[in-house]
């Protein structure tokens, strides 16, 4: 199968424990529909989980919601069919250029074990864009089939 029909689905989840699973269910459904391989679907799921729990934990979004968009599309003559996911909150934002690269050796020696989410997202997805400011954060990530 080479061609793909475009589709876009929107999902709103509450900031509440485990609601990232509602987002991963959408990744699985659309990933299978577009015939993305199982392992790639799993990678997108993991990236989406990280983006959701970041919004849950760090954004302090006043509406207690996270908005997701799932887009199946294709680049003509380019890298072909993809699944793109937006994860957006209306929280206080952050400066993505100031993120410190996490190091396992340091994590094993300090009380700070966290800080892996964005690195995991960037490693598992093909393209990642982070837009963040005083009105919130949107992370747009794409994986080719």
């Amino acid at each position: 199968m080479s061609s793909v029909e475009r589709r876009e689905v929107h999902l709103t989840i509450p900031v509440a424990p485990e609601m990232e699973i509602a987002a991963t269910a959408q990744v699985a459904a659309l990933g299978e529909w577009m015939e993305m391989g199982r392992d790639k679907i799993d990678e997108v799921k993991m990236a989406v989980v990280e983006a959701c729990i970041n919004a849950f934990e760090h954004s302090a979004t006043p509406d207690h919601k996270v908005e997701l968009a799932f887009r199946v599309g294709a680049e003509e003559g380019g890298r072909g069919a993809y699944l793109e996911v937006d994860v957006a909150d209306s929280g206080h934002g952050f400066d993505p250029t100031r993120l410190k690269t996490p190091e396992i050796a340091a994590a094993l020696r300090s009380s700070r074990k966290r800080g892996w989410g964005i690195k995991i997202i960037e490693s598992l997805m093909d393209d990642v864009r982070i837009e963040s400011g005083g009105r919130g954060t949107r992370i747009v990530m794409r994986k080719y089939r």
């Binding site: 699973i21 392992d39 993991m46 934990e57 094993l108 995991i120």
Partner: protein, 120 residues
């Protein structure tokens, strides 16, 4: 709810322990594992195998708790092995460099052999 992680501890002999997880390793899941791991460590068992066959999903909060367990084990001269990771969980551990400090095996047997010092 149903996402709650279950952990079963198995003691094939006095020196090693296997922790079999079933479910999502998130913050609460990681804490369940840590509770069992620290109880074992307290009773002198510092070679642990985490068998994730029934765990299809983890998040970085859960993994950070696993790093905490790894740190404590290494501090006490112990070892940590993982087996039966999904390709994505294995890839994530590689990305993080965790695979430099804990060994990843496809199946429990070679993992136990390594923990017992029977193999490199």
């Amino acid at each position: 709810m149903s996402e709650t992680l279950k952990v079963v501890v198995d003691r094939p002999d006095a020196t090693v322990a296997v922790l079999r997880t079933d479910g999502y390793i998130n913050n609460t899941g990681g804490e369940e594992i840590a509770k069992e791991a620290y109880a074992l460590l307290g009773s002198g068992v510092n070679r642990l195998l985490l068998d994730l066959e029934r765990t299809k999903i983890v998040n970085s909060i859960g993994i950070s708790i696993l790093i905490e367990i790894l740190e404590k084990l290494l501090d006490q001269g112990g070892k940590l092995a993982f087996c039966r990771l999904t390709p994505t969980i294995e890839k994530t551990f590689q990305i993080m460099g965790l695979a430099q400090y804990a060994r990843i095996f496809p199946a429990p047997e070679p993992a136990l052999a390594w923990l017992r010092g029977e193999s490199e």
